[in-house]
Symmetry: C2
Subunit: 366 residues, 2 copies
């Protein structure tokens, strides 16, 4: 006599596997993942950096009760704002609510977000002693709240909506860590490159190793896509990028789970884009300082994302339509374009304008 309980459990598990496969196939056929693979699609996919953010009333309400870090560290709340933004805007992907600097908290450097000042690192990294004192920390464990948020969010999102995990690229992470916060000139980071190259490279190595584990754990926890934010790499000359950064970004990008596409993003990168493409990534992020089509042509065989100036969303609807339609017309003939801003949604943006942008992208006939 068959063991029915065992049979049931097998049936259950095979049903779960089938559901997971269906879900996976729905995800894989989503316009967003198709664009990452440069496959043709009826519709241009669209999502926005910082789509869950201060410009949204519901987000500000949550933020009035918890600090920014508390929000990042609370998986239920992080899931709530992530799913809410995706559903409210109707965008083609969700990005997990988190911050690129959380690893600095996990590594014990003392991260805080000070009103009006942005991120502040209590103990900036400046010396060999700081390298020696840097603890060996397990990324997935020390940032388990991000993994938990990803699991909850994956379960909470519609089956056809890809979830994006992310981390800072090593230059951007190191520059915050060395400067102790945001910077205009990156004087301390560049001084370390120029005067202490071996210390710089050792730090980059450590950050890359941590970030590989962190991002791969995010895939395991439920992310279908990864974005690597080299937000401030545009402060470097091409030769400095080549000498101090490229190999580290390359090691990171080459070591990520091959089952998911990776978006390699930066701003002010017009002269760095060929080198960033060499470093890796299935999709290259473009800000508004470059002409989309000529830049894409010069990059060659890769998908691209972005290009709209976030300030366009501060204008009126007529102007937004004009600018969005221009980009859609330019990109209609080629597969592999993901509509996005060149950087995050700005706090004074009207939510209605963002919804309107998504509507224009979705109703545009190629």
């Amino acid at each position: 006599m068959p063991d029915s309980s065992k049979q049931n459990s097998v049936l259950d598990s095979s049903a779960t596997a089938k559901a997971a496969n269906d879900k996976n196939s729905q995800l894989q056929q989503s316009p967003f993942l198709k664009a990452c693979r440069k496959e043709a699609s009826e519709q241009t996919p669209v999502w926005l950096m910082r789509q869950a953010g201060r410009y949204m009333k519901e987000f500000r309400e949550i933020r009035s009760k918890v600090t920014f870090l508390e929000l990042c560290k609370n998986p239920e709340l992080a899931c709530e704002v992530t799913v809410h933004a995706q559903e409210t805007l109707g965008v083609d992907a969700a990005i997990i609510f988190a911050d690129i600097l959380l690893p600095l908290d996990a590594l014990g450097f003392g991260l805080d977000f000070v009103k009006g000042e942005g991120p502040v690192i209590a103990r900036p990294f400046r010396s060999d002693a700081d390298l020696k004192a840097m603890p060996e920390v397990n990324a997935a464990e020390s940032l388990s709240y991000v993994m938990q948020a990803l699991k909850l969010t994956r379960a909470g999102l519609k089956a056809n909506i890809p979830l994006i995990g992310f981390a800072a690229a090593p230059f951007t992470l190191a520059s915050y860590l060395i400067e102790g916060g945001g910077s205009r000139n990156y004087e301390n980071a560049k001084m370390m490159m120029y005067k202490r190259p071996e210390l710089w490279h050792a730090l980059m190595d450590r950050l890359v190793s941590f970030t590989i584990d962190y991002l791969n754990a995010q895939v395991e926890a439920g992310a279908q896509v990864l974005q690597v934010f080299d937000s401030w790499v545009g402060s470097l000359s091409p030769s400095d990028y080549r000498q101090y950064v490229q190999a580290h970004s390359k090691r990171l990008l080459e070591s990520l789970d091959k089952s998911v596409p990776v978006i390699h993003f930066g701003t002010g990168t017009s002269t760095l884009l060929p080198l960033m493409k060499e470093a890796g990534g299935d999709v290259i992020g473009l800000d508004w300082r470059v002409d989309l089509i000529s830049t894409w042509n010069s990059l060659g065989n890769v998908a691209v994302q972005g290009n709209l100036d976030p300030c366009v969303l501060l204008a009126d609807k007529e102007f937004i339509k004009l600018k969005v339609t221009e980009l859609l017309a330019q990109t209609a003939a080629r597969s592999g374009y993901i509509f996005n801003l060149g950087h995050g949604v700005l706090p004074p943006t009207d939510v209605d304008n963002v919804k309107y942008l998504v509507e224009i992208v979705h109703t545009y006939k190629k």
Copy 2:
């Protein structure tokens, strides 16, 4: 009988004219002015943006007694810091000590420099009413202290050292005026472009007219070269530059006294450089984000200035020598290169490093 007093006066005046011509010929044959005209020269000329600044002990001593604005408005002190910096460093040109935002003070918008915050404009420009209320002000009169400083400085400088006058380009001036100070995203300036283009263009028109008079008066007061600072224009997309800025910069540059060369400078401008060259200027400023030689080749027949990352001066002498020599070797074969940083000298810079840089440039054998 001849009127000897008249004869003497004629002799005096012809002697003065001869002295002025000699002086003028010495100036015209200086390596700096020859490079502006793309003429061959034994030596690469060098000067540095913000060469008179906080990184110098003598400057800090003066600044401990007067505010920044008081220093700008005191012709004797402005002359002193200008001449002192040129002589201390041994650079090939002096730039008059002043600030690009002084016209906003002259125009009554309320300019102040707040410690740790930078420039603050008390009454930012936002509306038609602000345009209507903008006074008609004579540039040379309202900024007579700058003219006085130029006269004193011209008289105080060695006869072979050109004196640079300067002003902000209209975008950079307008963006400070609209934002009310420095900005990361230029949200208010771009909002005005996008939502109130006629108001934007009217403001730019007014600023250009004022700046034409201001710069031409500087030539009359003793400047041999003019630099137009479009420091923050790199925040714009190429299409926005073309639509909202280029014609205004062009009108400014075309209306300047043809007897002096003009340097057209910006940062983060890699994708804007061809459009800036179209707008005008005898010399185009390059920051460190572009590769010098390929950029110069693509710009064609124009002199160029800049390209060294100011952070290089925070490194040690060996590294400085390496980077400076690289640029000198790259440019040795072509006439029309002026050595400079890509932006101003940073406050933590060691004066000895700046002197060392000048020495390397001057002792380099082409």
